[in-house]
């Protein structure tokens, strides 16, 4: 509405400053606004009246009869909803991972556009992180899936799965994580599945490296079973 129309309608010049009075009263105006308004109120009877009305409104605000308080039971209900939400998010993530080639391709593009020194740092960090993840996940905390089988980070269905040779392995109980890690590295083997209910792992080696890998694995005293899976 223009000022003219407004004046026609109400027959009085509106006071430009009056709209700020509520915030003058609640004390949230900037120092400049506050000072301008104080000077204005000193000479504007309408704004003086307006300020008094706002002040008495603050004083007469009704006290709510019903109050709401946080409770442990209410928070527990919220946490249950968080759990449900997280579960659904995880399901979506799993579905998304199945369609991961697109994501990997985007990562590849982003990586190739990264400056070379940063790229090397990233590559090193990614490798270090992957090693750490393998170290942490393998021995202590296999993730159990809905069927009760255990899965590892490099489980079947992983987009990284290749068409190498599969070897089933059973390790002796006293084999340490570091020994397992070193052996798999030497044998150029990647875990694809396991441990199964009987404690076996399925690893994959490149076809060209199959004979060398089998020899290395069979030669290790802490490997109780080496079986080529056809």
């Amino acid at each position: 509405m223009t000022e003219n129309k407004l004046n026609e309608k109400i027959g009085t010049a509106p006071c430009e400053m009056a709209g700020l009075i509520p915030w003058y009263v609640n004390g949230t105006l900037s120092a400049a606004e506050q000072s301008d308004l104080e000077q204005h109120i000193a000479v504007c009877a309408l704004c003086q009246r307006e300020a008094l009305r706002c002040q008495s409104l603050v004083e007469e605000l009704p006290t709510p009869q019903d109050t709401w308080k946080p409770t442990p039971a209410h928070f527990a209900a919220i946490l249950a909803n968080v759990d449900q939400m997280e579960e659904e998010a995880l399901k979506r993530e799993i579905n998304h991972t199945k369609a991961a080639p697109g994501f990997l391709r985007r990562m590849g593009t982003w990586y190739s556009q990264t400056p070379r020194p940063v790229r090397w740092t990233l590559a090193f960090e990614t490798f270090a992180f992957a090693l750490l993840a393998l170290f942490l996940v393998l021995p202590h905390s296999p993730i159990q899936n809905a069927n009760g089988n255990y899965e590892t980070l490099s489980d079947v269905g992983s987009p990284a799965a290749t068409k190498g040779a599969s070897i089933r392995l059973v390790f002796s109980e006293d084999m340490t994580t570091q020994e397992l890690f070193d052996l798999l590295k030497q044998a150029k083997a990647q875990i694809r599945q396991g441990p199964s209910e009987v404690g076996s792992y399925t690893v994959e080696v490149e076809s060209a490296e199959k004979a060398r890998s089998l020899t290395l694995l069979r030669a290790n005293p802490k490997v109780r079973l080496v079986q080529l899976v056809e």
Binding site: M1, E16, W23, S56, L57, P62, K69, F75, I78
Partner: protein, 212 residues
């Protein structure tokens, strides 16, 4: 809430919540839920609706903690904005939103063009005779009754300004409308309040109580 809660503590907790720290989430709940729960209680007026709205706010906090940007405003403003949205959603779902439509206030609908509210076209204390004076009522009773009759939009701006102490910019952020609309809406809310009080034969005093 903004007056009582340590903003820095809340921001620190929110960072931990972004990293899915449940202890921080619990601490955040006990630090903030009472404040925005109080605001929602005035808006929704039903305990079970507030339970639900607070739940919805907390789930949003869990999911979006990382999206809060302190550069864009105070944490409490961000939180009240979420609470206001969730509250309106509940009112809409229960068919309680805008019982008093803005069509009753056409001036408010086109207020965005002009910053100056039409402050002087209506006397805040109408001369019309009260429709029904309730015997034994005091101003406080009339105020409680009038507040129960205000629309959610009018109640929100009055509450955010005079009870919660937010600036006009913050209220605009919370209710999601331009500053001029906030100013005009608050004017009309107060006008409506004065009309309701007048119906019961009351008006707000135009002088401030002096306590000795």
């Amino acid at each position: 809430m903004s007056k009582y809660v340590d903003e820095a503590q809340g921001v620190a907790l929110l960072k931990r919540i972004a990293a899915k720290d449940r202890k921080a989430f619990e601490a955040f709940y006990y630090l903030y839920a009472e404040g925005f729960g109080r605001f929602l209680m005035k808006m929704l007026k039903h305990q079970e609706w507030v339970d639900e709205a607070v739940n919805d706010v907390m789930l949003t906090v869990w999911q979006s903690a990382g999206s809060y940007d302190p550069e864009k405003g105070r944490l409490s403003t961000w939180l009240f904005g979420i609470a206001h949205k969730k509250g309106l959603k509940l009112l809409e779902r229960n068919g309680r939103y805008r019982e008093e439509s803005l069509e009753d206030y056409p001036e408010e609908a086109d207020s965005d063009e002009d910053g100056a509210p039409e402050l002087y076209n209506t006397d805040m204390s109408p001369n019309s005779q009260p429709e029904r004076v309730v015997m034994g009522w005091e101003l406080g009773d009339a105020m409680s009754w009038a507040f129960s009759k205000l629309s959610a939009d009018h109640l929100a701006v009055i509450d955010l300004c005079f009870a919660e102490g937010y600036s006009y910019q913050e209220i605009a952020d919370i209710v999601g409308c331009p500053i001029n609309t906030v100013k005009t809406r608050l004017f009309h809310a107060r006008k409506r309040l004065a009309e309701l009080l007048a119906r019961k034969g009351f008006s707000l005093p135009e002088q401030v109580k002096v306590t000795i």
